[in-house]
Amino acid sequence: MSLPFLLEIGTEEIPDWMISTALENLRLSFEKLEIPHESVRLDATPRRLVLRAEGLPAHQPDSVERVLGPPKSAPAQAVAGFARKQGIQPDEMKVESTPKGEYYTYLKQVPGRNIIDLLAESLPGVILSLYFPKTMYWTGRGGPRFIRPIRWIVALLGDDIIPFELAGVRAGALTSGHRRLGAREIAVTTSDYQQRLSDHGVILSAEERRNRIRSGMTGIRIKPDDKLLETLVYLTECPMPIQGSFDPQFLELPEEVLITVMRHHQRYFSVQDAEGKLAPQFVAVMNIASDPEGFVRRGNERVLRARFNDARFFWETDQKKSLSDRKPDLANVTFQAKLGSYLAKTERMMQLAAELGGDAHAVRAAELCKIDLTTELVKEFTELQGVVGGLYARVQGESEPVWQAIYDHYKPESMDDAIPRHRTAQIVALADKLDTLRGCFGVGLIPTGSRDPFALRRAAQGVVRILIEGRFDISLFDFIGDDEALRAFFAERVRYYFKDIRGFAYDEINACMAATPNPSRDREGAVSSSASWGNLVDLEARLERVRGLRASPDFEPLAAAFKRIANILEQAKEKGFTPLPSGIDEALLEAGPERELYEEFRRIAGQPIENVISRLRPKIDLFFDKVLVNTPDPAVRQNRLTLLQTLLAEFSTIADFSEIVTNS
């Protein structure tokens, strides 16, 4: 028999941004029960998480389990005792040979359980194990925890209620409709569930709600905003967009401010005119079907008017004192207790901007960029920090590179966000982030696990992206110094960027980051093992080359050979090997593969490895085939090892090929 299954967890309003993850977890928890089924469907509104499956059996199949009894050598009494305990006759057992010896065994018939019993037992655990970022208790201290109180549960297998209780709620066949458009208790079956909800004002499918919002906005030129759309899909059970308008005189305020008020504070879509400029209209999404009297529209318009009036008040008040005049006020804004005020940070950033090659514009922008923290507008709309400073700088007559750099200096704020728009802005953004990172690591504020209150990961990720995508031909190490923890922190960000964002293989990244820098560019003996990846533009170029090389059939064998060379040299060094200071002594080279390898090396040295890989590989293969490296003659051995070391060094400037994972 094949049965439909319905589980609806009825709750109070779940935060919209947690719902998709919760549904995915619900699916995984259900799959873990290993109950056969044909299909699963998940749905959610703010007040319900729903899993429906088709084709569940009523029973588990019966199964047979082999039970191991006493060994054959056991006294008859023990054998009889075992049989009694299992409720069988001794002749139902047989003797089998097992890895442990000869044993009595018996095939126990295990009847399959009813699926409904299995579900009744496991569903409370399934529900309570769903992960939410922040949970609460509501039935009293020590009670179950969930994201919001559970108020009803529908749990049906076919026509039967799956009997269980959770947090004082008995699972049943009664759901609940839309808070205002539906009944509080609605009897449902697995087949009419969705329809019954729909009759009571609840659109169960997120896709349907999304389409309803979209189609309600056709003909209106809204500023596309998928994130806001998703928020509204999971904030409503019966969404309906309505259009409202505001006084065009508010358009004198910067668009950024207007949009922030509409989007972040009111969850409205903003509307554009034919030229793409902000129009004095908005679209709000209601959680009811219609607004025939216009109450909702007028209410929202009034709220928006009050909000815009506030913003205008702040915008005008802030302008009474210019950014320059406000600079001393930064002394009263703490950056971090041990790192002093934002004024101190500003001085450091100005210095750093100059060191990064910034011109007078960059230094000026660094000087002004944090001052908007003292304005009322930023205190009210913290998400507009930087942007507001840039806007004030523009109206106060700062040059374009300066105000744009202030405007952009928090960018990139996420992996999807663009890096600052031009060099000056990039330098200011780097100065800000590098100062924060250096300062915090300097006083031991190093992120651990999920704790990263200063968003240092994001800052470091931003530095990495700006350096690479902004084509900065400089070494990161010149700006983060010798702090090992900070280097390791950056190494992690660099790996993440190239692997997860750019798609390089982890061993390619390891190989390129472990490369030995070009000796000609090195100061004597000053090379540390991690010194080669500081120039991220160079690292990117080498990664591209290694990815290109990997296509060559000679690549993997050569990488394997390099690994062998690295091992040989390491062992030799442990035994006291040092390379010949004068280089390879040609007189000590043995005729045949060794000399051929050397001569090939001399011909190709200095050429890009791409051009010579096919010539080099047979010579190395032959060398390892025919030549004994650890020959008894110490002079020949030293010379031979020196040859290998020279060869390795020549081609390790792109990557340490011994890090490449090969199949051979």
Binding site: E12, E13, P15, D16, P46, K134, M136, Y137, W138, T139, G140, R141, R148, P149, R151, R179, R180, L181, R184, L235, T236, Q266, Y268, A284, M286, N287, I288, D291, E293, F295, V296, R298, G299, N300, R302, V303, L304, R305, A306, N309, D310, F313, N332, V333, T334, A337
Partner: protein, 305 residues
């Protein structure tokens, strides 16, 4: 059209009908209804309790000299505590909106995530802001912790912003235009408060005096807290409620100093910690005095013994 006071009376009656003790405002300055002992201390311990009261809430930094149509130094909160929260608490809350004449079928209502936290009280909870046609009209919180103590019973706290709610119902753009009582606007009744307290808080409050007062009240609270002896046979008569009043004085002085621009960002955290320390200590002593976690509350008869 219902006046401001009619709306208040209707809501009080609504909650009285649902078993709430109707209290009058607490007579010490507070920043929110949560800070009154009727909430802060009553949510502690294992005894059910229901109360509702209007609390004038003073927020010196929000004063705007009576110029801003939406911001007030002193606004009025209707504070409702249902301990423990009944399963239909949201429906009851929606019922209260209908009681004051809001037809919820004609308006848009959303519950948007907003978890409340009061660092000076060591208190936090999970909940929502209630949005009516895009306007935040209430804060709804399931308390989880108060005075740093996990609560035995989870209360629901409903906080109505009465001026906003009234402006919404009376369709007024400025709170000063709402009708308080027939013939009297909100401005008639409260404009002078807004103006004069703004002048005092932003311009004339003497910083040195306020700091001195802060220290004095802190000293008195701390002195009392240290004298509380959990082992004393007489502990039920120990004046913890007066000790808590001293904490409230400190909290209001801190807010005034803050508005006056006298608290640097660096100092801020430290002062909040000082207030919190006192609040947490009073809460712990209160739980002990009322019979300890899990025990039933002290009855008047017990005190007499």
């Amino acid at each position: 059209m219902q006046s401001f006071q009619e709306i208040i009376l209707t809501l009080k009656q609504y909650w009285a009908d649902r078993g709430c003790i109707i209290q009058e405002p607490y007579d010490t300055e507070v920043g929110a209804g949560t800070m009154c002992p009727e909430t802060f201390l009553r949510v502690l311990g294992p005894d059910p309790y229901r109360t509702a009261y209007v609390q004038p809430s003073r927020r010196p930094a929000d004063g705007r000299y009576g110029d801003n149509p939406n911001r007030l130094y002193k606004h009025s909160q209707l504070q409702v505590i249902l301990k423990p929260a009944p399963a239909d608490v949201i429906e009851q809350y929606l019922g209260s909106l209908e009681a004051i004449g809001i037809d919820l079928k004609q308006h848009d209502l959303k519950l948007e995530e907003d978890n409340w936290e009061a660092p000076t009280l060591g208190a936090w909870g999970i909940g929502w802001q209630v949005m009516l046609d895009g306007l935040e009209i209430s804060q709804f919180t399931y308390f989880q912790q108060c005075g740093g103590i996990d609560l035995d019973l989870v209360p629901a706290e409903l906080t109505y912003g009465l001026e906003r709610l009234t402006a919404f119902l009376q369709v007024k753009d400025s709170v000063y235009d709402i009708e308080w009582a027939p013939g009297f606007s909100y401005g008639d009744v409260r404009y002078k408060d807004e103006l004069q307290y703004s002048v005092y808080n932003f311009e004339m409050a003497d910083v040195a005096t306020l700091w001195k007062l802060f220290d004095l009240h802190e000293g008195e609270a701390t002195r009392l807290i240290q004298l509380y002896d959990p082992k004393s046979a007489d502990k039920k008569r120990f004046p913890l409620l007066p000790a808590y009043d001293q904490v409230l004085k400190c909290s209001n002085l801190f807010n005034t100093l803050d508005a006056r621009g006298a608290v640097s960002v660096t100092e801020r955290v430290g002062v909040i910690q000082r207030v919190r320390k006192m609040a947490v200590a009073v809460a712990a002593a209160w739980v002990d005095q009322q019979g300890g976690a899990g025990a039933s509350a002290c009855q008047p008869a017990e005190v007499a013994q």
